[in-house]
């Protein structure tokens, strides 16, 4: 039987990595990820986890050590946040192009300057194109479940790709939630042992990350793109299997009262929970509003998004990151791109909010929806608006 435990989400993530039997953890502490790696270090030091814990001098080294471990055939886990993720940046491309299924939880944090340890999605968006599978969690349970799924998906012979699980800094990482932990035996069955088909081994030497001159580079990138896109099928299968085993079901795009709603709000991450409260209230007042929560960020679920929003008149997208000098929020611009060629599509209105840990309350979400409806009817001179900013 699964155990229900009241636990801080960061600690629950470490427990999930333990349940998954991670062979190697290489990490560098950074707020708000610290409690994850602290707890992992404790589990290893107490002999509760049979894992090689590699303390490193930076996130660049953490990701590099993870690469080496994964290439040698070890199940590898790490975690980071904000500036730490940016320091890993260049090595992350190597993980995906060398097809090394490292699993990493990213505790989403704003980027300096000014210095902010609080949550938003600026860090994620800067690593958007690194070729990793990326999944956003909305609460602690989703985080734990998807850490387990991440190992199974990433290490699948048909995939072999690194996976990032995103959770909002503090909003999720530092709250205590009731979390259901599956039995060790269930997890062992759900995540088969990691077997890289061509690991680094003296008996069978291979070269990883070799020189790719112009004559071959484009082919390597096409192979990578096809592989990441094809991973969606495996992700769907994994979530399906997870649902059957653990009775919790996940999909790339979640709809909440969206079927007949004229106006839809789209969020990613923990804001979905607060937004649902606002949607409930507005629906209680007879308003035809619904919510779309985007869980799978890469590979981008084009089909599911188009299907989920096609009957709406307006789609209000809330981004927690800003593409400076660009179209506003990265999520909104991708949604617009996904819908551009559709005959039947809603008007897409972009908001940027919740930057650097700024709260958005249920009343705030109501305000965003009302302002979004106003813009959809009367238009606006701006590409997007920053919600709640003092003028």
């Amino acid at each position: 039987m699964a155990k229900r435990v009241g636990i801080e989400v960061s600690l629950a993530i470490a427990e999930a990595a333990k349940l998954a039997r991670a062979d190697v953890v290489a990490a560098y502490p950074i707020t708000p990820q610290t409690h994850i790696v602290e707890h992992l270090a404790k589990l290893v030091a107490d002999g509760e986890m049979d894992t090689q814990y590699i303390p490193v001098e930076s996130e660049h080294s953490a990701m590099s050590a993870c690469l080496g471990a994964s290439a040698a055939g070890a199940r590898t886990f790490t975690a980071t946040a904000g500036q730490g993720l940016e320091l890993m940046h260049e090595v992350m491309y190597v993980a995906s192009s060398m097809q090394l299924p490292v699993v990493m939880t990213v505790v989403n944090r704003a980027l300096s300057a000014p210095l902010s340890v609080w949550g938003d999605h600026s860090d994620v968006m800067a690593v958007r194109d690194t070729g990793w599978i990326q999944i956003f969690a909305e609460n602690g349970q989703e985080t734990v479940d998807n850490v387990l799924c991440a190992f199974r998906i990433g290490e699948d012979r048909r995939v072999l790709l690194p996976v990032m699980i995103h959770l909002d800094g503090f909003y999720l990482s530092h709250v205590i939630e009731p979390v259901l932990f599956p039995e060790q035996s269930q997890v062992d069955k759900f995540i088969p042992p990691y077997q890289h088909p061509m690991p680094l081994h003296p008996d069978r030497p291979v070269t990883m990350g070799a020189f790719g001159p112009p004559i071959i580079y484009a082919e390597t990138k096409k192979a990578q793109e096809v592989n990441l896109e094809a991973s969606k099928e495996v992700i769907l299968q994994c979530w399906d299997e997870f649902g059957k085993t653990f009775k919790r079901y996940y999909s790339p795009v979640e709809s909440y009262h969206s079927e007949k709603a004229k106006v839809l709000l789209l969020t990613m991450g923990s804001f979905g929970e607060t937004a649902m409260t606002a949607i409930d209230k507005m629906r209680g007042e007879g308003r035809e509003v619904g919510l779309i929560r985007l869980r799978l960020w890469r590979p981008f679920p084009f089909k599911e998004i188009r299907q989920a929003v096609k009957n709406a008149e307006a789609l209000i997208v809330l981004d927690r990151a800003l593409s400076f000098g660009g179209p506003g929020g990265p999520v909104c611009s991708e949604i617009k791109a996904a819908l551009y060629g559709e005959d039947k599509k809603p008007k897409v209105i972009g908001f940027v909010g919740g930057l650097g840990g700024r709260d958005i309350t249920p009343a705030g979400f109501e305000e965003i929806i009302n302002r979004g409806i106003e813009i959809s009817q009367k238009g606006s001179e701006n590409e997007f608006e920053i919600f709640g900013v003092r003028e």
């Binding site: 060398m98 090394l100 082919e219």
Partner: protein
């Protein structure tokens, strides 16, 4: 490699573009990069072997008479051999079109 690099399609690549064949860097024609080639004047050469030591491609070899020459499949035309040959037995001449 089963096919030459220029004929490999994306489907032919191994997982993560792993190279499974040891030593296949020898198939890479660095000579492609060359815009000048070294010409060895054996009348000036004193067989000191400095060119052989300094060539970053390791593509200079010694023939039966003890003189040196570059393997143009690999010689990238950097001119280091000519710079280091103190009797000035090596001159760099432009590659023709």
């Amino acid at each position: 490699m089963t096919k030459p690099e220029g004929e490999l399609t994306w489907r032919d690549l191994e997982i993560g573009s792993i190279v499974t064949e040891a030593g296949n860097a020898s198939q890479y024609q660095t000579g492609d990069w060359r815009s000048e080639r070294p010409i060895f004047d054996n009348n000036k050469c004193i067989k000191c072997g400095l060119c052989y030591i300094f060539c970053p491609e390791g593509c200079i070899g010694q023939n039966a008479e003890g003189y040196f020459d570059a393997d143009l499949f690999y010689c990238k035309g950097c001119g280091i051999c000519a710079r280091e040959c103190w009797p000035k037995a090596i001159s760099m001449v432009p590659e023709e079109e």
